[in-house]
Structure formats: structure tokens, C-alpha cells
Amino acid sequence: MPGGASGALAGFSDLTANTESPLFRLAESHMSSAETVTTNCVITAEFLKELAAVVGPARLLSSKDELLVYECDGYVVEKSVPDVVVFPENAAEVVAIVTACGKHRIPFVPRGAGTSLAGGCLPVGGGVMIAMTKMRQIVDINLRDRYAVVEPGVVNVNLTRALAGTGFHYAPDPSSQGACTLGGNVATNSGGPHTLKYGVTVNHVLGVEFVSPQGELIQIGGPCGRGNGFDLPGLFVGSEGTFGVVTKIWVRITRNPAAYRTMLAIFDSVDDTTQAISNIIGAGIVPAALEMMDKGIVAALEQAFHFGFPLDAEAVLLIEVDGLEVAVDAEAETITRLCKDSGAREVRLSQTEKERALLWKCRKQAFGAIGRLSPSYCTQDGVVPRTKVPEILRFIAEVSKRHDIRIVNVFHAGDGNLHPILLFDERNAEQVKRVMLASDEILGKCIDLGGSVTGEHGIGVEKISFMNRLFTDEDLTVMEDVRKAFNPDGRCSPGKLLPTAGACGMEHIEKQHPGRKAAM
């Protein structure tokens, strides 16, 4: 089986039809399991009563017609319906829920906004889903000491909105920031366009309070960072829900740059574009953002937003430098020169705040605009060393031709974090199969070039089968041991991140997923 290179498949109609791909059989088995929940974990009336005693009947869903929408997140290929969804409002309730799950040996999975593109919220094997959407208070903002305390259900952009006018912001800005929660960001170590200069989520998390799978409320780190112990918050970030349920987060807040310059460089060849990327980074300039969009995506964006992109260009770079007013012009000039030296046809400096905002809106809504190019798409999240960007793009073009699948690119070029978007019609099963193969080849090539299969979306269930191509067996054993230190019986987010992350009573997964190492 060629790995789980399915990406986030857009649309969610029955993808399983007429396909030989093992991935499809796997997806199918999930889908059918969605119809009849077949966990070995038994949800007793007594257990439900205990949960209801914690959150009250109004904050508990247990009838099938209300559970169905929780069968998947932003990743729709695999589906599994939870047995119960609860909506705690505070840490004490989370403790009580997790404790009840422990007593009855029921698996559970935390969920934020459900924008995961890797199936992070999939309740593998059913069990309890703990929806954190009701814990959304911004508890404290301290500008002088540059931190904020938030509950995990706070939507990323709402923190930055709450900071509007203060001269500070919360730096990690995933494209999904308008919807995704900070709890989800912590769990997946989210990045975004501005992480090139400002770093990803882990670089901004000072402390985490969480409920361990054993039901203890634990605080690691805090507003002054950690003392002299292990960097437990650093380890926790990116654990994809497998270490416990986050109930509070201390994040660093960042000064707004005094000035920025946003540029659009227009190129007549992809090679020239990638050369420019490499020259900018190589010249020792760290732009705040360096994003590439190719011809295909530019066409879709132009249709959606009428920005005035040149439709005949092969690719454009969206470059932003920020910092001191006295310094940004010189940097912008250097970048302009480097782009022109690499063959840029034109470098436009955005003249107004409105123009800049529109440019960024185009970039951040790029995935969405794809709907205008084809009925379905699948986006990947591979990473290569930045100097390998030209090579991987040539490879992607070649794969596109060989499999006869149209692929467009919009990605964090400065980080080497690709988001090739494969276009297809999900009703054409044969084409879907080629999409799978093409995705798989691209991610394989990322590994060969010294990169990774995920820069920000996470492993989840989607890319689990790539783990043993990225890591040795020994690496995975050590990682599993670390998981056990937090989550000894694997009941917390089973079937995620590690190819061996099962839970008691999950034997059916093995039966349903031949060929997949997931679950015990």
C-alpha cells in the first residue's frame, strides 16, 4: 500500500466506489463503521448518566442523528461516529469527564473547531468526544509582561482581535485562523505565512494546563515560562491530542511591527521564481512572509477577488518585510533587486493598506478559491529544504504530467513548506486513484529530498503510514514510550500520530484495517 497519501480530500461523497486502492478500502471500512458503531467499548446507561451528571443533558449528545456531524473534521476520507459528545465549560468538568471515561475504560478524543486536515479529531473506535468549543474565554491579557491566558476554545483570530489597538498581536496565523481554536493550534503546532520570521505555535506557548488521561489537572510552564525542569510545554505542543485535554494556555504576545512593505513579484518561469526564493533566503534576508502562487492558483484567485493579478505570469511571489520604518525600504529594495536579477518581469509594491489586505485575503483564502477550478481537490503539506524547492516543483510538474492530474501550487516558499493542490472530480474513481498515487509520489520525494510529509497539518490518521518512512523503528518505539508516559493505556486519542497508538478494546480496528499498523 502506498502510504496514506490522501490529503484533505475536498467534498465528501462516496470516494470508495470502484477503486482498488487499499486506502480506499480502508476509508470504506471507516465509512461503513460509521453506519454501525462497532466499538468494543461499551457505553452503558450508567456511564451516560455519570456524564450527564457532569455536564447536564443539554451539553451532551448521544443520539445518532446528532452525532453524525462529528464523524469527521476537515479531513473527510475516514469517518467514525463518536458514541457521545460532551461540551464541558470548565477544567473541573473535563476532569470529571475524563475520570468517568477512565472508570469505564472508554476512549476519548478532544476536538476544537474540527478544521484538522489530517483527521486529528477522528474518534477512532468511537467513544467520547470532548468538544472544547464552550471553553472560549480570554482569561487575561497582560501587555506589560507580554502574555495572554486563554481557554482552549478561543478562536485564533479572536485573540488578535482582542489585542487590536494595543500594538500587540498573537503571531502564529494559520490560514484557518478565522475558525481554528488555540487548543487545536497547540495540539497540532500550527504554523502560517508569518511563521517564517515569527516561528510556529511552540515558539509562542509559555505554558499549558491540561487534564491527563488519568484525570489529573496538570500545569506545565506558566506565564514566566518553565523553571529549571524539562521543557514539558515544548513537548506537549504538537502531541495531537494524545497527551490529554488542554484546558488553559499561556501564550506569548508579540509587538506589531512598526512598518511593513508588501510586494508582489511576477515571473515568467517557475524556475526563475524558485531561484528568487533561494536568492532571497541565501542573501540573509528573513522576510516576514514569502509565499509562492503559481499560474493555476492565480487564475482562480483573480476570478474570486479581482485583484489584478497578471494571468499570463507563470508564478508570483508574495513577499512581506517588516520591522523598523527606517529599515524596511532598504530591505524591500534589496528584495526587488534580487527578484529582478532572478528574472522577475515586474515587482509591485502594494501602495495602500487596502491593497495589502486584499493581497493577504487572496493568499489566505487560496484553498477555498480552488472550488472554482475543479469540483474536488486534495492538498498536501510536504516540506523540503528550501534550496530543494526548484527540484520538488519540477518533480511535481512531472508527476502531474505522468498521472494526467492537474496540480496547482500555493505555499510557504520561505519555509520550503509545500501545499501542492491536486485537482480532480471525486465522481471519477479512476482519476481519484491517480490522485492518490501522485500524492504519494510527491510526499515520498519530499522524504527523499531530506524533508518531511507534514509541515503544519499534522500526522493525525491521514499520514500515519508515512511515519515509518520518516523514522526508524527505534525512533517510533521511543515515541511510543513517551506517549505511554502521558497516556499509558492509549485511551486518549487512539489511533493517532503513531502507527502503534491503540487502546484497549480497539481490536476491531486491526480487523477493519488490514495492512495498517494502526491500533493494536
Binding site: 506589560r144 515558539n203 529549571n228 518531511s452 503544519e456 511515519m467 514510550d481
Partner: protein
């Protein structure tokens, strides 16, 4: 086979030349029940370990594994001296912006010790720079985490766990860092404040300064009330109650513009100019100011807004402090010979918030919390690594 030799103190020194040899050492240690330490015996003779402990020194593992300069990442073996790495990176006009104090320090020790100096204000700490690791745990298992790309979320972030683990979870054998360009120019300015309120107000302004300082250090000299200097021998103490050192960087015009801003922010103080005998440069300051852990020093991490209050209270009890004002970090010098310094610090911090620690005492492996203990027994179930 692993080289070994006896060092000055007669301790056996093991010098593996490859990761495979490190594994061998560990297997042997597991077999024989002996213990290993990566702690260097410093010239001062501190950190001397009991005789039963065999010391591992990675000085033979000091190569650059991969330096794709245009990717701005570097992969090196853990035994390379930080000063050596700095030199190699400087040739490409790049840097790992972590201040080290000791030219002989290895990159493994740098990471394991989570060493950080003045520029952590502008650049952050090692947790922001380590993107890949290779290490060998207490069971002789080689493990990797992260990779060689700057953005990667595959697998648990064991890089973060190893930063500051002080040799208690495994021996780091290889490290990959994310790099930064060297700045065109750096400039340091110092200001003195006679009055705590002026100092406080300058810090508050600097927090939202139009300039972009990379370091914001302070010192506050105090003499025990009972021992006020009778002569003028210790003029520093008398003359500079609070001193603030601020570093900026960038193009020359950006530096001079920023210095103007700093002067506005520090209007309540007086600019201290170099008399020629002092090298007022960022580089000199970071390497020689000696801001940081020293023997018997206590480190306080508090809120930046509480720094002046904490320093003043300590001063009133006769303790001099220095540290990273922008980060709320104070190092307390025990000049009184009073063994009670920790208790005093604890008391003050309990009122203002923060943590108190000492390099030798507060080893992460000694952390009493069950989670740390569990992790420790996961990586080193037989306690091969001495704490």
C-alpha cells in the same frame, strides 16, 4: 572501539567517535551497571562526579554533518565546540544567535544546558533553534526527532524535550539548527538610573519602544546595609545603582535611528559613555558581561513588570542583582556569604510571582513532579545518567 583515557582527576574519560560507539558505551554500562556522565569537569573543579561514574566526552564527534548554507540550517555532531561552530557559520555570514560564555562548551552541552544569554530578549532561546536531534537513551536506543527542515510537525517534539535536559535523558550525538543571518552592525548603549521609579518607567517605555532592542540587560549593585563601603574602592556600587544595557542591530542608519529612540525611552536616566577602556559592544557584552549562572548564583524568573520591585527588595537586603530585564530574569549574587539567599529569594518571589532556581541544585532530573519522573524512567530506567 571507544577511546578512553584518564583525565586530571583520575576519572576515566570515554571518547566515542561515532553514534555507534555511544550505543556501545551505553550497552556496556547497562551490562555492568556502571553510570555515565556527560558533565564536563570544569577547570574550576566544580561538577566533579563520584568515582564510579565514567565521563563521556564527545570531543571526537566534532564534525559538520551538513551545512547547506542557503537553507540556513546546519547539522553538526554534538561534540563540536560552540566557538568552532560560530566560526564556520560566520564564514557564510550566519549565526546561531545563542550567547555562549565558554569557548570550549560543546554544542551538545549548549543544547542540554539550554544556555541562553543577553540576546534571548531579541532572539529567543534554543527551543526556538533546535530543529532536529539524534541521541542515544539510557537503554542504548538511538532516537531521532524533527529533521533537517525548518518546519516539521511529524512525530513528538523530542527536540524540545532534550533542550535543557542536562544529560539526564540521553546523550545527544547530532543536532540540526535553524540559523539567522549575521546583522550588518550592532550597537550597545548603557544608561544609569539613580532612582528606581525612573528605571521602572524606562523599562515600561522600552517594552513598547519604537526601537527593536535585541538585549535589555541590567545590573543593580548593592552592598549589605551593615557593610556600606567606607572607602571608594567599590565605585561601581556607589556610582551606578541601576545600569541598563541595551543592544540594537541592523543597517548603520537603523542602528543610529534606534539609539535616538532609546534615548527618548531612557530620558529619566543618564547615558554612560565609554571612557575608552570599556568595549561597549554587543559582542563584548554578551561574551564577557558574565550575566548568567555562576557558582552559587540563584536565578529568578519573574514578570518583567516585577523586576524592579524584586531587585529593589533584594538590594535592601544587601544582594546585588543583574540579568535580563526584558525577560524578567535576575541572577542574585550571594555577596553576603549568607547561605540563606535561596530562602530570601523564595520569599520575595512568592509575593511577586515567578520561579527560583540554582544551576547545580535544580537539575531537571531531580524535579519531583511525577510526569518528569516518568519521562526520566522512560529514557533512563536504570539511572545510567548521573544527575
Amino acid at each position: 572501539m571507544t577511546n578512553s583515557s584518564a583525565n586530571d582527576s583520575g576519572q576515566q574519560l570515554l571518547m566515542p567517535a561515532s553514534t555507534a560507539e555511544v550505543v556501545e558505551l551505553l550497552r556496556a554500562a547497562v551490562g555492568s551497571g556502571s553510570r555515565l556522565s556527560t558533565n564536563r569537569v570544569t577547570a574550576a573543579g566544580t561538577n566533579s562526579a563520584p568515582d564510579s561514574v565514567r565521563r563521556v566526552d564527545l570531543q571526537k564527534m566534532n564534525e559538520v554533518v551538513d551545512y547547506p548554507a542557503r537553507d540556513m540550517t546546519v547539522t553538526v555532531q554534538a561534540g563540536m565546540a560552540v566557538s568552532e561552530l560560530t566560526k564556520i557559520l560566520a564564514e557564510e555570514n550566519q549565526q546561531l544567535p545563542i550567547d555562549e560564555f565558554d569557548p570550549l562548551l560543546s554544542v551538545g552541552a549548549l543544547v542540554a544546558g539550554d544556555i541562553a544569554g543577553p540576546r534571548q530578549y531579541g532572539y529567543g532561546t534554543l527551543r526556538d533553534y533546535v530543529i532536529g536531534i539524534e541521541a542515544v537513551d539510557g537503554q542504548g536506543r538511538i532516537f531521532h526527532a524533527g529533521g533537517r527542515v525548518v518546519k516539521n510537525v511529524a512525530g513528538y517534539d523530542l527536540c524540545r524535550l532534550m533542550v535543557g535536559s542536562r544529560g539526564s535523558l540521553g546523550i545527544l550525538t547530532q543536532l540540526t539548527f535553524k540559523l539567522k543571518p549575521l546583522p550588518e552592525q550592532t550597537t550597545l548603549r548603557s544608561f544609569r538610573f539613580d532612582d528606581a521609579a525612573d528605571f521602572e518607567s524606562a523599562l515600561t517605555k522600552l517594552n513598547v519602544s519604537a526601537a527593536n532592542p535585541v538585549l535589555l540587560d541590567f545590573n543593580f549593585a548593592s552592598s549589605p546595609p551593615a557593610q556600606q563601603p567606607t572607602d571608594d574602592s567599590d565605585c561601581v556600587q556607589k556610582d551606578i545603582p541601576y545600569a541598563l544595557h541595551i543592544g540594537v542591530e541592523g543597517a548603520p542608519e537603523a542602528c543610529s535611528w534606534q539609539i535616538e529612540q532609546l534615548r527618548n525611552d531612557c530620558a529619566g536616566g543618564e547615558e554612560v559613555t565609554s571612557d575608552g577602556s570599556l568595549d561597549l559592544s554587543v559582542d563584548h557584552h554578551c561574551r564577557n558581561a558574565g550575566y548568567g549562572w555562576q557558582d552559587n548564583e540563584v536565578r529568578i524568573r519573574t514578570f518583567p513588570s516585577k523586576l524592579v520591585a524584586v531587585a529593589t527588595e533584594l538590594g535592601a537586603r544587601g544582594y546585588s542583582t543583574q540579568g535580563h530585564a526584558g525577560n524578567g530574569i535576575l541572577f542574585v549574587q550571594d555577596r553576603t556569604g549568607d547561605t540563606d539567599v535561596r530562602t530570601v529569594c523564595r520569599d520575595i518571589v512568592s509575593r511577586h510571582g515567578g520561579t527560583v532556581s540554582e544551576w547545580t541544585v535544580d537539575h531537571p532530573a531531580k524535579n519531583p513532579d511525577p510526569l518528569s519522573a516518568k519521562l526520566r524512567s522512560t529514557f533512563d530506567p536504570r539511572s545510567i545518567f548521573t544527575a
